[in-house]
């Protein structure tokens, strides 16, 4: 057992290395930079967000955790992209990286690009590389171009301010000259939009006076108040009752058409993906293993892991009594092997799988998979 523990010397070496890297990345994060430094071009102009080989690491005492290890996918305009994977696969960290909400100094974007097509008030479109933006400039995007809905509605609202105060704030950020009455009118309009029955009353209420579903609606209205081009919803329904879940999802679907924006929906629930998404990204252990349109992923899953995921989904029509489950666990994120991360759990493992990590294989214009089974050579 003791051989499983690091020695003091190794610990010191890790700490020394971490400190060096963290210091460099922190300094980079808080540097002053001209806009030109992080202006860039979209690869495909129909996309609103392009994540390109993103690496997000956590520098812990135990070693570097590569929570997101080379993730690439696109969010097209007016589309819903579902990011799916089991807990700990890096899907939330990806969204946090886009929002630049990682807790420093441990959590850092190590490399990669996050290109986002922003549009300011005058309708001028600019493409920013969010990964390179200094923290001082992040407010150009965060909250007004990209809004986020979190998993925990119970704790995500500030307990000491009323709903109204927290909603008005969003209006004031984007329109500092707005009067109090204007802000209130806008907030109540937003509450109405998300289907809150008595917006006037909720406006004056404190978060603890509302139920979980109500709070999530408030969170959504808050995200909408800034007319974002992209909404990132990180497991928006996980903490809610099934009936409320359906309502919230309906709401999100309606809203997408109303605001004419895109949604990046993060979930571990394939049912939600099937219902909501246009495109699906399947993540496993910090990597994208398969991505494609929702039809491709559901009707023609290719990666053994995706197939396993779908098999493990309970259905009424299924004949068997037991649920399918994928044997084994996700590998430890420290010291990842350099062969396919799924190899140990895969039932269709071939000789090649012991080799390098598989490249992405394109099977259709929109369908990609990272598995040696589909590698022609």
């Amino acid at each position: 057992m003791s051989s499983n523990y690091l020695s003091g010397k190794e610990i010191r070496a890790i700490a020394k290395e971490n400190k060096k890297v963290m210091k460099r990345l922190e300094a980079y994060k808080y540097r002053k930079a001209d806009e030109s430094e992080y202006l860039t071009q979209m690869r495909d102009s129909s996309n609103i967000l392009e994540i390109d080989s993103l690496h997000t690491y956590f520098f812990t005492e135990q070693g570097v955790v590569k929570a997101v290890n080379g993730v690439s996918f696109d969010v097209p305009q007016n589309a819903t992209v579902g990011v799916v994977g089991e807990s700990g696969c890096g899907k939330s960290v990806t969204s946090m990286s886009v929002m630049r909400l990682l807790q420093g100094p441990t959590g850092q974007i190590y490399s990669g690009e996050i290109r986002f097509k922003s549009k300011d008030k005058d309708g001028v479109e600019k493409v920013y590389d969010i990964a390179k933006m200094p923290m001082d400039d992040i407010h150009k995007i965060r909250g007004n171009q990209i809004a986020m809905i979190f998993q925990e509605p119970m704790t995500s609202l500030n307990p000491v301010f009323t709903i109204g105060q927290q909603l008005d704030e969003v209006t004031f950020i984007h329109n500092p000259d707005a009067s109090k009455e204007e802000a209130k009118a806008k907030s109540i309009e937003m509450l109405n939009l998300v289907g809150i029955a008595m917006p006037e009353r909720v406006y004056g209420a404190f978060p603890h006076e509302l139920s979980g579903g109500m709070r999530q609606r408030v969170m959504i209205s808050m995200a909408l108040a800034s007319n974002p081009r992209l909404i990132i919803a990180d497991e928006p329904t996980t903490a809610l009752d099934v009936t409320i879940q359906a309502q919230i999802l309906d709401l999100l679907r309606d809203l997408k058409t109303k605001i004419d924006g895109s949604i990046m929906l993060i979930t571990h629930d394939l049912g939600i993906i099937a219902e909501m998404a246009d495109y699906v990204v399947v993540m496993y252990a910090g990597r994208v293993i398969e991505k494609g349109t929702v039809e491709e992923i559901f009707h023609n899953p290719m990666h053994p892991y995706t197939i396993g995921l779908q098999k493990s989904k309970p259905t009424l029509s299924s004949d068997s009594d037991t649920l399918f489950n994928i044997p084994g666990n996700v590998p430890n994120p420290i010291n990842m092997p350099n062969y396919c991360y799924f190899k140990e759990r895969c039932s269709r493992c071939v000789h090649k799988c012991s080799g390098d990590y598989p490249e992405m294989v394109q099977v259709s214009p929109t369908h990609f998979v990272a598995c040696h089974l589909y590698n022609e050579e």
Partner: protein, 330 residues
């Protein structure tokens, strides 16, 4: 809410009864001839304790009968006097104890109030900077300075200040509240007061910043890691707004609550500091009274302190209900 307060008040009365019983029994543990000795010493010292006063005290405390029932009887006679708002007459001053307390409370209160204001004004910003720059050089510097402050014994630090600023440099008077040789009036009298209380206040402030700053820092760190701070950031708020509005308002809850707990220290006087700078505050008077065996005053003063801390605890709970919208008092 009303019911809650009523319940707490009733409980406070019982706590006070317990406290008074302990103090009373402790005082009764002093041998009677010891008290007589002390009275003689006071008489020799110039002040006169009249036979009448001593007899009144004997009656009030039922001294002399040291059996358990005797002491208990004495306690109830003291209690019944208290019910008539009679704390007895001070040996040293020859006036009712309550009058002595009120007479000297003003100085202590003024000093404590000013010191507390400065304490909060300095400690809270320090705590916030330390928390928002956790593990930075700034955090370490503030922490070390503040810890040194906590670790300074008040008598040592007070004497050092006195030795350096008052005796060596002569910037401030070394002791007392007014300059006995000059007769100031109006504004210059006020200025003279200020010069006299500057060093005591400085002593108290430096010693008390520490705990307050640590408290702010700890709370702030906890708040900064919460989900709603992430939400505030995600909204696009500037970091300064996130810290100074969203985080600060939450950090304020325990700070304001602790304010109520300060009540006793506002009125009870800083015994050591007042002794070092020889201020006529209530703490110094009490110390003197205890050294001289002024039993009615000791009893009265201790009960006064106990009353203040009971009210302090009660107020702290009520404040909690007011400041934190989540808390409903029941």
């Amino acid at each position: 809410m009303f019911k809650y307060i009523l319940k707490r008040l009733v409980m406070s009365v019982f706590i006070l009864l317990g406290v008074s019983m302990i103090i009373y029994f402790l005082i009764r543990l002093m041998p009677v001839d010891f008290i007589q000795d002390k009275i003689n010493a006071i008489n020799q010292g110039g002040a006169t304790v009249s036979e009448e006063t001593v007899n009144a005290m004997y009656e009030m405390y039922g001294l002399g009968d040291n059996s358990f029932w005797g002491i208990l009887k004495g306690y109830f006679s003291w209690l019944s006097a208290l019910a008539r708002f009679d704390l007895g007459t001070s040996f040293v001053y020859g006036i009712p104890v309550a009058d002595v307390i009120f007479e000297h409370m003003g100085v202590s209160f003024a000093i404590a109030l000013i010191a507390t204001i400065f304490e909060f004004l300095i400690a809270i910003p320090l705590g916030i900077t330390a928390a928002t720059h956790q593990y930075s050089f700034r955090d370490y510097l503030v922490t070390v300075l503040v810890m040194v402050g906590i670790s300074l014994p008040s008598f040592f630090f007070g004497q050092m200040l006195k030795d350096f600023f008052a005796l060596k440099l002569g910037w401030f008077p070394a002791s007392g509240l007014v300059d006995a040789t000059a007769s100031y009036t109006g504004l210059s009298l006020f200025g003279d007061y200020l010069r006299h209380v500057f060093l005591p206040i400085l002593t108290i402030v430096i010693l008390s910043i520490g705990p307050r700053m640590r408290m702010t820092r700890t709370n702030m760190l906890e708040v900064m890691n919460s989900d709603y701070i992430r939400t505030a950031r995600a909204k696009g708020l500037k970091e300064s707004v996130v810290i100074n509005k969203h985080a600060f308002r939450n950090t304020l809850i325990p700070l304001v609550t602790s304010l109520a707990g300060l009540l006793p220290s506002l009125f009870s006087g800083a015994i050591i500091t007042e002794q070092v700078f020889d201020l006529p505050g209530i703490g110094n008077i009490a110390l003197d009274a205890m050294n001289r065996g002024d039993i009615p005053f000791i009893m009265g003063y201790n009960m006064f302190l106990a009353l203040l801390s009971v009210i302090g605890v009660l107020l702290a709970d009520l404040m909690y209900g007011i400041v934190d919208p989540r808390v409903k008092l029941e």
